[in-house]
């Protein structure tokens, strides 16, 4: 998909239909938005404690489940202290 060309080999943040957030390096994608992420980590947000990082490793995500793909600014990401960030998890996609 042309719109994703610039994201290849970059750190991306994927938001899924159920509201989960997965960050990893984009290794491949196709026209169906299927993705391959390496060294991926799930970021679990909660309102009473900081963001929990759950390592997932190499992941293939089927395009059907994807709501959004964001290109992460690695400098900014490195400067944020996620153990201090508290928020409700993102809501699931409702029709």
């Amino acid at each position: 998909m042309a719109a994703l060309d610039g994201f290849r080999d970059q750190l991306v943040q994927v938001v899924l239909y159920d509201g989960r957030v997965i960050v990893g390096k984009l290794k491949g994608n196709d026209n169906f938005c299927n993705l391959i992420l390496s060294d991926s980590v799930e970021r679990e947000y909660s309102s009473d404690k900081g963001v929990e990082m759950i390592p997932l490793g190499l992941y293939m995500i089927k395009g059907d489940n994807i709501a959004l793909i964001g290109q992460v600014d690695e400098d900014k990401d490195g400067s944020l202290d996620y153990s201090e960030v508290m928020a409700e998890p993102l809501a699931e996609i409702r029709y």
Binding site: M1, A2, A3, L4, G6, F7, Q13, V15, Y17, G19, V21, C33, R43, Y45, G63, I66, A67, L68, I69, G70, Q71, V72, D73, E74, K76, D77, L80, V85, A87, E88, L90, A91, E92, I93, R94, Y95
Partner: protein
């Protein structure tokens, strides 16, 4: 097809996309495709206190199927032209 063409005319304008998980993202429209997938650059989230999930994200690719609304400046749209085009399309597809 008409709405796809309409979104193409908004390229390089600042628009706000509201997703079906209530997240509102403002950014510069960089590209749109036939599924109305949207690529936004230089994004910011409407309520970063409630949604800090996108703090380190600069550019996003939004899947067309998760978009609830797109808000744009009134001056970005030639409503008379759009009305004519929609009537013409309705007339042509009705046959």
């Amino acid at each position: 097809m008409l709405i796809f063409s309409f979104f193409k005319t908004l390229t390089d304008q600042v628009i706000t996309v509201e997703l079906k998980n209530d997240l509102c993202i403002t950014g510069t429209l960089k590209s749109v495709d036939q599924f109305l997938n949207i690529r936004l650059d230089g994004i910011r989230v409407e309520d970063p206190e409630r949604h800090p999930h996108m703090l380190a994200v600069k550019n996003v690719f939004i899947r067309g199927s998760v978009v609830r609304y797109v808000r744009m400046a009134a001056r970005a749209v030639d409503t008379t032209l759009l009305e004519d085009a929609t009537r013409r399309e309705a007339h042509n597809t009705g046959k």
